[in-house]
């Protein structure tokens, strides 16, 4: 069988693109769950489970993306170049963003399994911090990706970036407001209405 010498190069590019798409899906679904955008259309538990699966699959494809870079004969990447940010001989900053995005994805995916250990508040804070993972992965793809100049790849970056941005803005705007204490004077009421409340 004729073996293409650049097979690993195609695999690393394809796995990187799929990992990015899965990361975008995981981020989008995560934002969809917390903003309750899909409530009434999709079951929240279902969205959460798919969000979790997409994160784990993204991690698997990130692993493949890195693993095939080492044996690729045209690229001089060692394991340390792929694990330590800034040590890559090829576009160090763009690759460093990819390395940091990988660590972010590992933290996000593993946080599902140590949620009880972390506590809900810490888990949520950690999960929100990993939102930056998508941004880093996007920048890594744009500046280090060999196919970034392709119209279909540009469209992918644009559509996923816009979708996640829209969902993030929606999440911030639709974030549940803190419940007012029953004994607190409602400050949002007009002066007259507040005075009436106090008079009661």
């Amino acid at each position: 069988m004729d073996w293409d010498p650049h097979f690993c190069w195609y695999v690393t590019r394809a796995s990187g693109i799929v990992a990015f798409a899965l990361l975008a899906l995981a981020t989008g679904l995560g934002l969809g769950v917390t903003s309750r955008l899909a409530d009434g259309i999709l079951n929240r538990r279902w969205v959460f489970e798919v969000h979790k699966s997409a994160s784990l699959l993204a991690l698997a494809f990130i692993g493949l993306h890195l693993a095939v870079l080492i044996p690729e004969p045209w690229i001089d990447f060692g394991p340390m170049d792929l694990l330590l940010p800034g040590t890559s001989p090829y576009r160090p900053l763009a690759v460093a963003m990819g390395v940091l995005a990988m660590y972010g994805a590992i933290v996000a995916a593993s946080s599902f399994y140590i949620k009880k250990l972390l506590g809900h508040r810490t888990w949520r804070a950690l999960h929100f911090a990993t939102f930056g993972t998508f941004v880093l992965a996007l920048l890594h793809g744009v500046y280090a990706g060999a196919d970034s100049g392709e119209p279909w790849m540009r469209l992918t970056y644009f559509v996923t970036g816009l979708a996640v941005f829209f969902l993030a803005v929606f999440r911030i705007l639709a974030a549940p407001l803190p419940r007012p204490r029953p004994d607190a004077t409602p400050t949002s009421l007009s002066g007259g209405a507040a005075a009436n409340m106090r008079a009661r």
Binding site: W3, Y10, V11, N43, G149
Partner: protein, 76 residues
Amino acid sequence: MATNYLDAKLALACGSFLAFAALTAFLGVRDQEAEVQTGSTPVAAGGVAATDGQGGAISAPAGQQMPTPVARSRGT
């Protein structure tokens, strides 16, 4: 409902692997076509074989030298 989660997870995994296989094949065919047209595989900085989308080579960044790629012959 548990079956629904499983179905969705399975569909996501299968879809991802299909997309990955299709992309690998697509990139391989496209690069080989570019290689036939230009006579050589485009090489980017760092010895990375890549195209700029129009079948042209990505040039090395300023101040960096393009390393010589060690290409293996086909069939080995």
